[in-house]
């Protein structure tokens, strides 16, 4: 059996492209109005909870300020991003990847055990825990798959006025359109933080083998883990 299922590998790389383009075009869109608000409305600095820094051209798509063009990229890649998420959720439920490898049982939420896991991570010892992934890994992947990525789709839909008649309650569920926009922004940076840590840990644990594993599937060694 391969270490990573084909569905996981395809989605991983497609999603990487989507998230990168959505994040960088999102920074360009952010430059159009650099204030974030809570509630239903907000249009002036004195109502804002945050003044967002201006993101330079090297960090944005396109590489110069263009709200129209950045929206083109955002609108296009929202499709493979959202449909990809739907696909991987269906795949994970069908092949039991989520249930078997990512789920955290209630009895695992013990402060001492979690602390021990954190200490081992700080000592750069990652190969522990009974299953495929240890507690912190499952927590991180679980947060990204169950919370961060779906919240990006739903807060994005809540910002869109044309979608509103289909589910007016969605805007309220986020506490208003400007709250949805703030949450969209905050969670995009949470995903950025996840990716930064993810890449760092891949670099620390034999990057060539890790990347090859995510492309070819890799091999599983006796005992279930490589």
């Amino acid at each position: 059996m391969k270490r990573h299922a084909l569905s996981t590998r395809i989605w991983h790389w497609v999603n990487l492209v989507c998230v990168t383009i959505l994040f960088m075009s999102g920074l360009n869109i952010s430059n159009a109005h650099r204030y974030l608000y809570w509630g239903h409305w907000g249009f002036a600095p004195e109502q804002a909870w945050l003044r967002v820094p201006y993101f330079p051209g090297w960090a944005t798509i396109p590489g110069y300020y263009s709200l129209a063009s950045a929206r083109d990229w955002h609108i296009l890649f929202a499709w493979p991003f959202a449909l990809g998420l739907l696909f991987i959720w269906a795949a994970m439920l069908i092949n039991r990847h989520f249930w078997r490898d990512l789920r955290i049982a209630r009895k695992e939420w013990k402060a001492a055990a979690i602390w021990a896991d954190i200490v081992r991570h700080l000592k750069l010892d990652f190969d522990h825990g009974g299953g495929k992934y240890n507690f912190l890994q499952r927590l991180a992947y679980g947060l990204v798959l169950c919370v961060f990525l779906p919240v990006m789709v739903f807060s994005g839909l809540a910002i869109s006025p044309g979608f509103e008649p289909a589910a007016p309650w969605l805007v309220d569920a986020f506490g208003g359109r400007q709250s949805a926009r703030s949450i969209h922004f905050i969670v995009s940076w949470a995903i950025f933080a996840f990716i930064a840590i993810h890449i760092l840990l891949v670099l620390l644990t034999g990057p060539i083998n890790q990347i090859r594993g995510m492309i070819t599937g890799g091999r599983e060694i006796m005992g279930g883990r490589e």
Partner: protein, 246 residues
């Protein structure tokens, strides 16, 4: 330091490639297709006359921001302001059986719809206001739309960077109950910064699709021969999406 330069280099290459794709025909056709899918998905997920959220008086923002054109710089418009827009006319023309020229009085005498809605600018900000005016569908009914008409074009008195502002929507949005010709904001006559004396409210779309200083409504079969051919001022000038519901 070398690694940083390398990463910055990769980022620049990637950004440069994206910028190139943005300007290519192939890129444009993908972007248009994606925009269409969003519009079709929005339409498929709700009934034609499903409403956007309406708010209570307590939700109204203390001030309604003016954006884009906030006045019309002509002697003619200033004269209209002087006499309280008593002589303002709204023409309804194009593919209609009975072309109309409506006075402010005519518009006020039609059945009115009052709605407290949220205005979302493409830039990201929102403001809530109470708008009143006749439904566009009622005016179009009076004029009688001819067979083969597909779009409604809004002609405006204001200019931006030397070009006349205009916008367009399709029949689905034109017939939507919340699409109104607003002449009142928060119980007062429409202020100049918000498009006096009349502006469109197209509530399922972003702010640039709600043209101000409205002088004519044109019913057309195609948008191709109008101005830059993309269906609106910002669509022509900067490539903004024609469907502003996303």
């Amino acid at each position: 330091m070398k690694r940083r330069a390398f990463l910055a280099g990769i980022s620049a290459l990637f950004v440069g490639a994206c910028s190139k794709i943005s300007r290519s025909d192939a890129g444009a056709s993908f972007f248009h297709a994606a925009e269409d899918w969003h519009r079709k998905a929005h339409r498929a997920l709700s009934s034609r006359h499903a409403l956007v959220r309406e708010y209570s008086k307590a939700d109204i923002s203390p001030f309604f921001r003016g954006n884009g054109s906030i006045r019309v710089d002509t002697a003619e418009y200033r004269a209209h302001v002087e006499n309280g827009f008593a002589d303002w006319r709204l023409d309804v023309r194009g593919m209609v059986k009975r072309p109309l020229s409506l006075s402010m009085e005519n518009l006020r005498k039609l059945p009115q719809r009052t709605q407290i809605t949220r205005h979302d600018c493409v830039e990201g900000w929102s403001a809530i206001g109470e708008w009143s005016g006749p439904q566009l569908s009622r005016v179009l009914e009076d004029a009688g739309i001819m067979q083969g008409a597909n779009f409604i074009v809004f002609r405006c008195a204001d200019t931006l960077a030397g070009s006349n502002y205009y916008e367009s929507i399709d029949m689905v949005d034109a017939m939507h109950p919340q699409t109104i010709i607003a002449h009142r904001l928060n119980g007062e006559n429409l202020p100049v910064i918000n498009g006096a004396p009349i502006r469109m409210r197209v509530e399922k779309q972003l702010g640039y699709k709600h043209p101000k200083y409205l002088i004519a409504i044109e019913v057309v079969a195609s948008l191709e021969d109008i101005a830059g051919g993309n269906g609106g001022y910002w669509e022509d000038r900067s490539g903004y999406q024609w469907y502003g519901g996303i």
